[in-house]
Symmetry: D3
Subunit: 145 residues, 6 copies
């Protein structure tokens, strides 16, 4: 394998979009039932509601001059699938996801959990950012540190 060409001097970002469907209710263990009902309204329904979540993962770094890839999106897709989608897809986020059990599964908190999971799986010299769409009109972005 010959490595004679050079990388561009500036970073590039690669994005990969995946999706999952899940049930949840917004309910904070740090609030009373009455407070939860006032703050979260119909999203606090104890019998749950759900969403088609769209997950956008951004990875930033330098292009490998040999392959022309920053990161193979097929590999990125597999990492997301095995570590995030299998854990969240067709699940009840309040009851079945260890990382969310003691917290409120708001879009913010789900995004942070996904970031923490993927941060451990993506090479540390690559920056990571998570965007999580709860609906087309409500979404959250978490760039970590």
């Amino acid at each position: 394998m010959h490595h004679e060409s050079q990388s561009t001097p500036f970073p590039v970002s690669v994005y990969r979009k995946e999706h999952f469907n899940a049930a949840h209710r917004l309910h904070s263990p740090l609030l009373s039932d009455a407070e939860n009902k006032v703050i979260f309204g119909k999203c606090n329904n104890p019998l749950y509601h759900g969403h088609n979540y769209e997950l956008l993962v951004k990875v930033t770094g330098f292009v490998d001059p040999v392959t022309g890839y920053l990161m193979d999106t097929k590999l990125l897709s597999r990492i997301i699938e095995e570590n995030v989608i299998e854990k969240l897809d067709h699940k009840n986020l309040n009851l079945e996801v260890e990382e969310l059990k003691d917290t409120n599964p708001t879009c913010e908190n789900i995004a942070i959990v996904i970031y923490d999971i993927l941060r451990a799986k993506i090479k540390s010299d690559l920056k990571l950012k998570i965007t999580l769409y709860e609906t087309e009109r409500n979404f959250v972005e978490y760039p970590g540190e």
Copy 2:
């Protein structure tokens, strides 16, 4: 009010799109637990999952020559909101929706329930068709009779 112009001789259709978020599990009361698990797989999760449903309502008839409307989409939107969205939005479709309690809340059956509800609220000389998107890639159409 003067009615001197004439309607076009051909029917027109008006579409209105609304959305709701709900939890469900696919589970037929006519099948055993084992059969349900085989047929519906992860969609049979007893702790539910959920979707952002997009609902497209099509109404067909003749344009009123005075207003230029087949039907005011603000009115159509309000009929859908009051009769369908309030009943389904942020609900558990298996447990909280009377019309779905003895059936399996597949996209097909939800679309038929929505059709039956709206058929009773839309003037009988107007044809009605329901399209219900469970995801961007899975959807169902029910044109009734």
Copy 3:
């Protein structure tokens, strides 16, 4: 030019989507000012509002066995551009479009006007249907005769 192959025995439809931006107000010349205000509400604003209209044109017929085309979409696009878009784009639909001057520029009436214009330009053995999107959530379909 050799014509030795055969057409499929069943019709095919080709769709082409174009867009235009225009101002309008909903105001029927057959209604009093007070009636117009009640029926059309904020859409009756005498100073106009506007939309990004998306226009979808469907043409149905048999595929030419020599070219493999029902109709060249570049040609269809040009016909729409020259006859519809040039007439409606960046215009005031109440004041500047001859075919709409004595009517109310509802989505229904604009679709019918577009159909009539294109019907005269598309070969008569091809069926034609117009879908006009006033917004992503409000649209109209006119299949003519």
Copy 4:
């Protein structure tokens, strides 16, 4: 397995969307090189160009009263995947697809080939319709017989 409920008396349609990426050039074996160049312009480039095709498959029939499904979309997806996507995805449609070798791979002809492949795999009491998007603005619909 108990079959005590009844199907709705009216047909329902289920849609499933899949996608594939492919290279092609528009070039009819029934036309001379000069004719091909005039008719197909830059689409006739002998070095090919390509598209992200979106394929929408519509299946129409009666809902099974036991499962609540017309047809399991996971099954429909697998049938499309195994019979259509594996054949067309990341392929050169002019050179690598047996069913298209003696024809011009227009969107119309690709849709007809897909219909014929799937017609043999979908139960004969279900109606089938193919919509194939070459771009967001150019697409074709083939409902077969």
Copy 5:
């Protein structure tokens, strides 16, 4: 109300998308009529044209460890609705919007006006960014200071 958990140490952003429809013409009071006509072309039409504007509001800050919210998107939606949408929706941007009366209602200037309105209504420890889509293919982003 117990506040025992801790906020994540890194900021999160929440996005909310709203829309409005309006008429405008591009015409700068600082240019002559002839200059306006040359620079803005058909967008300078004195009888106006219009758009379906999509407005994306981004708010950045720290998640409240008790609620799991950075900011309730229902509240954010209401602030946008009451302060921006009611002012701009179904309006003539040149004639009816005080903040735009002495300026040219380009997408840039409308975005800046929206930013200034919302900046006064969003808590000062939250960063704000406005993205305004005039069409799907033309849009503007304004992050303020």
Copy 6:
């Protein structure tokens, strides 16, 4: 021409989206055929595949207080059309694009080539960023220096 108003003190960004269709194969001249086949899989097909590329160009700078424009999107569109789209649309990216001939036409490398072309055509006091969508779910961002 009178220049009496003042620019906002903060930068604004204008976005313009264009598209092109092209064929390519992923194949690095710095790797052996066997290595290329392992790394790029079906994307290495020697007979090519293709995509509908969506290209988003972001330009950042200060609004001209006289016109209210950062940059006329009609002009930006023309610059992209004449310098990028004409070069790439309906082309084979491996064989027909000078700037890509000695490299692997990954989404990363195409984005960098587009950046370099446009950087020479956009005024140097304006910042430039390229986003290139290979599919709806795979895309790349290149902000240059």
